[in-house]
Symmetry: C2
Subunit: 253 residues, 2 copies
C-alpha cells in the first residue's frame, strides 16, 4: 500500500487527508528469455500468481513442470524455467488462436469442458455463512483501501488459503498457485471469491476440479451453464444469512 | 438477460425462484480473416465496443480507419475491415512485446504517456454528486442482476453516453466507441465509471484526452501517478455527497 495526499470533499467541507491506496505493478512473465504476458497485479504472492496463472491457462499440467521462478522486483519480471524442453509448444498453446483478454481461456476451454466434477463433497448453508464472515474479516487491504478483490480456498472447517489482488482473476490464480505448491487436494474444497463469476473464473476452478464455488457477487449466464454442464455447485450473492444456488444444489445440504 | 431457476436460501428458508442473470458472450475480433482477440462481454453495443477497443488499444488512430464492422451474432464474430492496407502493421502493434492481459496497454503506454491534458474544463462537486446519482439510476441491468459495470461520458449538463458490460474495461470502450462514432469532442467531458481505476482504465481515457475521470470505487497507486503526470483529474469514491480528489484538483472548483 502507498500513502497519497487526497482532497476529501463531503458536501461543502473540503479537507486534505493522507489516504492508503492499493499498489499495482505490471509483472511481465518470461519463459526463458521469451516474453509470455504482462499481468497487472498487486505485488504480493507473486510466485503463487505465476504458478497459478500458468496452470489455469493450461500452459503447464502440474506444478512439477516449473523448475524455477525468479521474481525481479525492480524491473517487475518473473523469469520462469520450465522442466519441459519443448518451450515452443507452450507458446504455441498460447498463441494459436489469437491472443489477449479471454482467448487464453477459450483455447483451454475445449479440454477443460470435458472435466466432470463428481465429488460427493457437501456443505451446509450455515457453514457457508460462517466462511463468508471469516472471508470478509480477512480482507484487510480491502477494508483499508477499498480497491481489491479477494479469493480463498476453504473446506468445511475453515479457510485454508487466502489471497488478494486488484484483479479477481489474479486473486484466484494466487490461491490456486499456493494450493499447487502445497500439494493440496482441490477435490473436496470450496473456492470463495469476492468478485463476479464469469466463464473464465469458472474454468479456472474447474481446471482444479474444485466442486463448489461461492461468490459474494453475481454469476453470468455462461458461468451458470458451464457449472451445470460440469456438475459444479455455483453459489452467488452469499451475504449474511442469504445465498443463491445456481447449479448442482445437492452439495448444499 | 436470461432467466434461471435459482434456489434462494435465507437462514433456514429455502425457496425456488426465477432470477434474471446477465448475459456473457465470447466475441472474437477478426481483422479481415485474421483473428485478433476474444473479448468476453455483454452482447449490447457491440460495434461501439469493437471501435472503442481498437482505438484505446492503439490499433487504429481515428474512427475513419474502420471501413466496416459486421457482427455475426450466431458465431459471435466481429469482422472488421480497416481502411489501412497495412494490416500486418496493426498485428505487429499488438504482438511485438508479448500478448495477453495488460500488455496491450503497456505497449501503447509509451506513446500515450506523452499526452498531457491541459483542458481548462471545470466542474463543481455538487454537479458531480448529481451526475453520480443520475449514473446510478441509469444502471438498470445492475439493479436487476447485480452483475455489471457501467461507464458514461458526461459534461456539466448531464450524461451524454451510457453503457454497461460485465467488464469495466468493456463498458468504457463502448462509451468511447460511441463517442468516436458521433464525433464528440472528448476534451471538455468527464468519464464516469462504476469500477476501480487501474492504470489501464486511466490510459484509455487519456488516449481520448478526457480531462476528468470519476469513479464510485478506488484508484490504484499507478493510476494516481499516471493521472498526476498527465494532468488528469482523478476522483474516487464519489458516493452521495462525498468524493476524493487524487490529482489535478484545480478542475474541481
Amino acid at each position: 500500500m502507498e500513502t497519497f495526499k487526497v482532497i476529501r470533499i463531503k458536501g461543502t467541507d473540503r479537507e486534505i487527508i493522507e489516504d492508503l491506496v492499493v499498489e499495482e505493478v505490471p509483472l511481465t512473465l518470461n519463459i526463458g528469455d521469451k516474453e509470455l504476458v504482462t499481468l497487472l497485479c498487486m505485488p504480493s504472492d507473486l510466485e503463487d500468481l505465476v504458478a497459478g496463472f500458468l496452470f489455469t491457462s493450461g500452459l503447464i499440467k502440474k506444478i512439477q513442470d516449473i523448475k524455477k521462478i525468479v521474481i525481479n522486483r525492480k524491473q517487475w519480471v518473473a523469469r520462469i524455467d520450465l522442466a519441459t524442453a519443448d518451450i515452443e509448444m507452450v507458446f504455441k498453446r498460447l498463441y494459436t488462436s489469437g491472443c489477449g483478454r479471454g482467448t487464453l481461456f477459450y483455447n483451454a476451454a475445449d479440454i477443460i469442458n470435458r472435466i466432470k466434477i463428481t465429488s460427493d463433497f457437501k456443505i451446509e448453508p450455515v457453514k457457508i455463512n460462517a466462511l463468508m464472515l471469516d472471508f470478509q474479516k480477512k480482507s484487510e487491504i480491502y477494508l483499508k483501501t477499498g480497491g481489491v478483490h479477494s479469493a480463498a480456498l476453504a473446506d468445511t472447517s475453515g479457510i485454508l488459503i487466502f489471497a488478494e489482488d486488484i484483479g479477481r482473476h489474479n486473486a484466484i490464480d494466487k490461491v490456486i498457485g499456493h494450493g499447487l505448491k502445497r500439494d493440496i487436494s482441490f477435490e473436496n474444497k470450496i473456492m470463495i471469491t469476492s468478485g463476479r463469476v464469469s466463464s473464465e473464473v469458472l474454468l479456472k476452478t474447474q481446471k482444479c476440479k474444485i466442486p463448489v464455488i461461492i461468490s459474494r457477487s453475481a454469476p453470468t449466464n455462461q458461468a451458470i451453464k458451464h457449472a451445470s454442464d460440469a456438475g459444479i455447485t455455483l453459489v452467488g450473492f452469499a451475504r449474511g444469512s442469504r445465498l443463491n444456488i445456481y447449479s448442482a444444489e445437492e452439495r448444499i445440504s
